[in-house]
Symmetry: C2
Subunit: 439 residues, 2 copies
Amino acid sequence: MDFDAVIHNGTLVTVDDRSRIIESGWIGIRRGMIRAIESGPPDMPPPSAHLTIDAAGGIVMPGLVNTHTHLPMSLFRGLADDLPLMAWLNQHIFPAESRFIKPETVHWGTLLACAEMLLSGTTCCCGGYFFEDAVARAVVEAGLRAVLAQGVIDFPAPGVPVPAQNVAHARNYARRWKHRSHLVTPSIFCHSPYTCRDGTLTAAKAAADELDLIFQIHVAETRFERDQSIQESGLSPVARLDRLGILDRRTLMAHCVWIDAADMATMAKRGCTVAHCPESNMKLASGIAPLTAMRAAGIIVSLGTDSCASNNNLDLFGEMGTAAKLHKVATGDPTALNAASVLKMATLDGARAIGLADLIGSLETGKQADIIVIDAHTPHLTPLYHPNSHLVYAADGADVRHVLVAGRQVVANRRLLTIDVDEVMDRVNAIARDIRSRL
Amino acid sequence: MDFDAVIHNGTLVTVDDRSRIIESGWIGIRRGMIRAIESGPPDMPPPSAHLTIDAAGGIVMPGLVNTHTHLPMSLFRGLADDLPLMAWLNQHIFPAESRFIKPETVHWGTLLACAEMLLSGTTCCCGGYFFEDAVARAVVEAGLRAVLAQGVIDFPAPGVPVPAQNVAHARNYARRWKHRSHLVTPSIFCHSPYTCRDGTLTAAKAAADELDLIFQIHVAETRFERDQSIQESGLSPVARLDRLGILDRRTLMAHCVWIDAADMATMAKRGCTVAHCPESNMKLASGIAPLTAMRAAGIIVSLGTDSCASNNNLDLFGEMGTAAKLHKVATGDPTALNAASVLKMATLDGARAIGLADLIGSLETGKQADIIVIDAHTPHLTPLYHPNSHLVYAADGADVRHVLVAGRQVVANRRLLTIDVDEVMDRVNAIARDIRSRL
């Protein structure tokens, strides 16, 4: 056998340095890694392999990277919408979290989110929540790649009733998962500047640095947060974090809606990265992040869906389309954020944002075989002039036909191979009935 | 037999006057019409019928109504993106139209658009183009309901080389189709105030009135159009049309992005309706229409995708999600445009906008059986707290499992029954190869 697996008869959208698109080609995989990327006519017999996947003329591309989500919150998908932020949080989300979040519910909610992501072409995600051991175990079971953080917040939280223990709790989780699975990279996630004191922020960042991990934090999501920060400290959220020494290349900031030019200059100088979540920011009416300005400043901006509680799905194809269109209308410039740029945000820039660009984010020899195959033989993807255009403006997650993570096929013909999706939905429905009857 | 067809074991989202949601029920259909809507437990044996459709616990709702599109332009899906409006039109779309639009290409492009719409839950559309006889024949072949107009523009157009004949051409088409098919209602479509002289506008409107038809027109899509109108005539596009006596209850205006309070007061007073196309307006960077203000003024606003050339798909589920989120962020108010309102825009208000509210737009006895069934047994629609929320914020067109138009099943288990989709895609791909090689 030449390879463990071969994917052939597809248009290869590589998202490599040269943004190469190979109109007809094949990919050879050995030991979970891409070993060959070659052009070849559709009718060429593929090299021999244990597993041969026929892309059937579809699009073959790197798996999508969702850099901001909270997996177990799939339990709260559509629980409450169309509400003011504080009413949504205080009357619905926080009560539901405090009463229903425990290791067992986190397990099923995470599996549901993983099923949704894999079936819609996301092969790697990044985020944080509570009971993160249960999250990480479920992610490994589902076969997804992920950067997963235990959340840190200066309030009593699910599984962390005593806030003084929050950093130790997160650090212990991270140590446990540091070398435990090739799929899960631990991380530490401070909720936000406004819910964590200075000492918590610096201690959490020190723990992340000690273990060489990505440090995540929500920053400047709302105007209220920005105004309150300036009122209380005289500093913007970004400036305050910078003063604390929190910002560097291993800091991933979610949202960054209410930032100004000085903030962006600081972020660019420190090399910190951003998870842009346009649909969540729109739905919660938080605002429109200055994406084109951030990119112009040299900041690496990736794409995230945020949780199912505020989106309400995890389809990164939809998020790409929204991002491309939103920033055109926000800037009044139809040339802003073209399809190739958005595609890179959702793949290679996502990998860079979470410290995994050596491993994933593009189709290149030597990288992990995190690969998805799109079924292009469908009315809404016909005709096909430019693959990038279809991926951003016309496709959605349901067009994903095959998915590989680290060379292992986890979705075949739109069916998930790793976990029993029917059982997962049954379990989540039972939890939701309980939430609905008791909340 | 009690009925010709019965749909049972579903959650019925009626979009009726009381916005009733029947958690478990069935619908009886006779002679193309809804004759019974009843609640009943999932395990209840349905009434006898020639055709029994098991909704399998999914959501049963009125088919979506797309009130603004140009069907044959599916041929140009993704041909050119991310360009300034004038470069997009003058260097790509207009040359492609002038060289490749003829009855045969219009036929295949329309069938492709119909296939996409039916498969994604749209049972009725409204719009206009050229060679409209070919469009209408293809729509009847596909089994879709539609309000279809021959386009009128004061320039040489495909099939209408002499502009002086444009209104007569449109009027003749409308007369031919006035009583020809129960699926197609003819209409007349003046391209816009800036491409039609006063005399053309009034003659076209008179022809529409004479035949009791909906009159369609693009209005105030871009800031340039609005500014130019004021500069040339001292009047906004809406004010100019009003001065010409064009605006009344049978006038459907697409876009209406650049309108002010006075325009809205005029529109409300005249009772004209609007086709709001958020994704097209975003992608072309035209702007954000004042949707909440229009609705507050009492104007009936419906939803349209616009053509595949500027969107780039015809999925009205995606359009609903975009509309709901866009106007929250545009107004800074997360309570703006809730899920139920958006759902109504895409169904009953769509039917009202195109003059078909007596026939379609809601699940009510006496209305035509234009019904879709959504498969809710899928990770991204689990759990289910509120059907409206899922339909607007989490579902997409690929979740549509069954579709009926006028009581006839046209989609079963995601397969189109009326036309050969593979042949349609083959034909369109051949046309696209020709376009790509010769343009």
